[in-house]
């Protein structure tokens, strides 16, 4: 190869480098997966014999054999439903405004920076904010509503950012095409931007929801209560949620409760996986629809 060419090809070395890097990345991937499998296996082992119908349909109790997570499960469903109800329209509305309407001004950039920073605020801070604002200042008490509003505040930045990214990924040429056909700005948003952004928006918002569902810290600040022997029937009722219930069981000295905690974790994981699966199914359905 020493024929004066400026290109020293070193093909062998380049291929070996590529091979080594590929292996390293594979090992990195493996680490995460192995840890996850060990964790889940451990939790499953602990929950064997405890995760049964009685566990799902009973209220908490002093005796591990009789205890269940009925109230926590309904609390979680309530809080989630309300959080979704509040945070979807506000989050998506904000994203649409920032991406499609707001002029590129200093104010817009300030708002954007704030939202980005808020997405990184620890969840306990939102819990304390909710406690001061909703529970006390607005006298909502330790209610489902106060909990849902707190989780709404917490999820909003993440939802807004996810929706913004989805909206931004809609090619500008679609918008221009629609404008050139005499669409108003709202028609462009409604008929071009949203249909194409929906898959991304849904994925982002549902992931934000699943993060919120698993948060114990802000909910402990709001609810504090763990010994609930009724199902909330209105947004003003007191409530508890799965992570609080699990946290409480883990911190009990009796061994029986640890098994309950493991069973609770399985239920929580099940709810989370169901939501993520729903996100994927919805996304695929919308994607098919827009491609047809």
């Amino acid at each position: 190869m020493k024929n004066g060419s400026a290109f020293q090809r070193h093909l062998r070395v380049r291929q070996i480098t590529g091979y080594i890097n590929g292996t390293l990345f594979f090992l990195a991937t493996l680490t995460g997966i192995i840890v996850l499998i060990v964790l889940i296996a451990d939790v499953f082992k602990d929950s064997v014999g405890w995760l049964d119908w009685q566990f799902i349909t009973s209220y908490p109790s002093r005796k591990p054999q009789e205890a269940g997570l009925l109230s926590a499960m309904f609390g979680t469903l309530w809080v989630m439903a309300l959080t979704a109800l509040f945070s979807f329209p506000v989050g998506i509305g904000t994203a649409i405004y920032l991406e499609e309407y707001a002029p590129d001004s200093r104010l817009r950039r300030l708002i954007q920076t704030n939202i980005n920073n808020l997405a990184g605020v620890p969840s306990i801070v939102y819990g304390l904010l909710g406690l001061a604002l909703f529970v006390q200042a607005l006298s909502l008490g330790r209610s489902v509503l106060a909990g849902a509003l707190t989780l709404t505040l917490m999820s909003l930045p993440v939802i807004i950012i996810a929706a913004q990214e989805a909206i931004r990924s809609v090619p500008e040429s679609y918008r221009l095409g629609a404008f050139a056909l005499g669409s108003t700005r709202w028609q462009v948003v409604r008929h071009i931007v949203l249909p194409n952004a929906v898959p991304g928006i849904l994925t982002g918002t549902i992931l934000a929801m699943s993060r919120a569902i698993g948060e114990a810290a802000p909910m402990i600040a709001i609810s504090a209560l763990v010994y609930l022997t009724f199902i909330p029937v209105s947004p003003m009722d007191r409530f508890t949620v799965l992570p609080i219930q699990i946290f409480n069981w883990v911190s009990r000295p009796q061994e029986g409760f640890w098994h309950l905690a493991a069973a609770g974790i399985i239920v929580l994981l099940f709810v989370l996986l169901t939501m993520n699966a729903a996100a994927i199914v919805l996304r695929n359905r919308f994607q098919k629809r827009t491609e047809e």
Partner: protein
């Protein structure tokens, strides 16, 4: 052949993108039911001028316009004019085909739909596709995605989409730049037949194309500060056979640069 009814008229038009002046002192009259071609080197502001005619530049943050564009004698930049109205009366076909990720039918029906068309949608879609010389190729798959069409078919779909609104003027920005010679000829024929009912303005880099299809031709260039100016404007036959300006002559004979 010569028709002197003015459809669009730019009067001392100036355009800025932020501080950069893209167009300077453009004045020209675009006659009704003719094809007017805009030619000139890359970056001289042809697309920018075209976008001034249907207020698409409004959508570019930081852009500003001075001067007037008269459409049937009315200044489309007057305060009481809604750009949306301008855009459905003056249609546009973009340089790159940009069909919506919807069905072929929905693409063509889009304009009528957003403008609250109440007549027979199927009929208007079929007519537009016929006019754009696309009907035979797509009539069996109207409800399939427009994204599956070839580049040339997509461009004709975009033309059909613009025609469905029955605009009075159609602006085309290098509509054939992504097409093979056969599709190009189809679109050129189309332009000529459309000119019977519509007023057409096209931007093109292809001198032969301008010579083939246009009745009027405008030659633009950049000045020292890169602002685009109109060098020469007149009937295509004159501009190509007997240009008045030395710069025009150099450009069309390929001695430019």
């Amino acid at each position: 052949m010569v028709n002197n009814v003015a459809r669009l008229e730019a009067k001392s038009l100036e355009l800025w993108y932020g501080k950069f002046q893209a167009l300077r002192g453009i004045s020209l009259v675009i006659p009704q039911n003719q094809v007017t071609a805009i030619i000139g080197p890359s970056g001289c502001g042809k697309s920018s001028l075209l976008r001034c005619f249907n207020r698409m530049n409004d959508l570019i943050p930081g852009s500003s316009v001075k001067g007037q564009v008269l459409f049937d004698g009315r200044n489309i930049y007057a305060a009481n004019i809604d750009p949306t109205e301008v855009r459905y009366r003056i249609g546009m076909v973009f340089q790159k085909p940009n069909p919506f990720p919807k069905t072929i039918f929905e693409n063509v029906a889009f304009g009528p739909r957003v403008n609250s068309f109440i007549g027979d949608l199927e009929e208007i879609v079929e007519r537009a596709l016929h006019r754009a010389a696309l009907w035979d190729e797509v009539k069996d798959r109207l409800y399939k995605s427009a994204m599956q069409l070839s580049g040339g078919q997509q461009q004709r779909l975009c033309i059909a989409r613009a025609l469905a609104l029955e605009p009075e003027v159609i602006l085309m920005d290098e509509p054939c730049s992504a097409l093979d010679p056969v599709a190009t000829l189809k679109i050129e024929d189309l332009m000529k037949s459309l000119a019977e009912n519509y007023t057409i303005v096209i931007v093109t880099h292809n001198m032969q194309q301008a010579a083939r299809v246009s009745d009027m031709a405008a030659f633009m260039m950049m000045e020292e500060d890169r602002a685009g100016v109109l060098v020469e404007y007149g009937s295509t036959s004159k501009l190509f056979t007997n240009p008045k300006d030395k710069r025009t002559e150099d450009y069309i004979t390929g001695r430019f640069g």
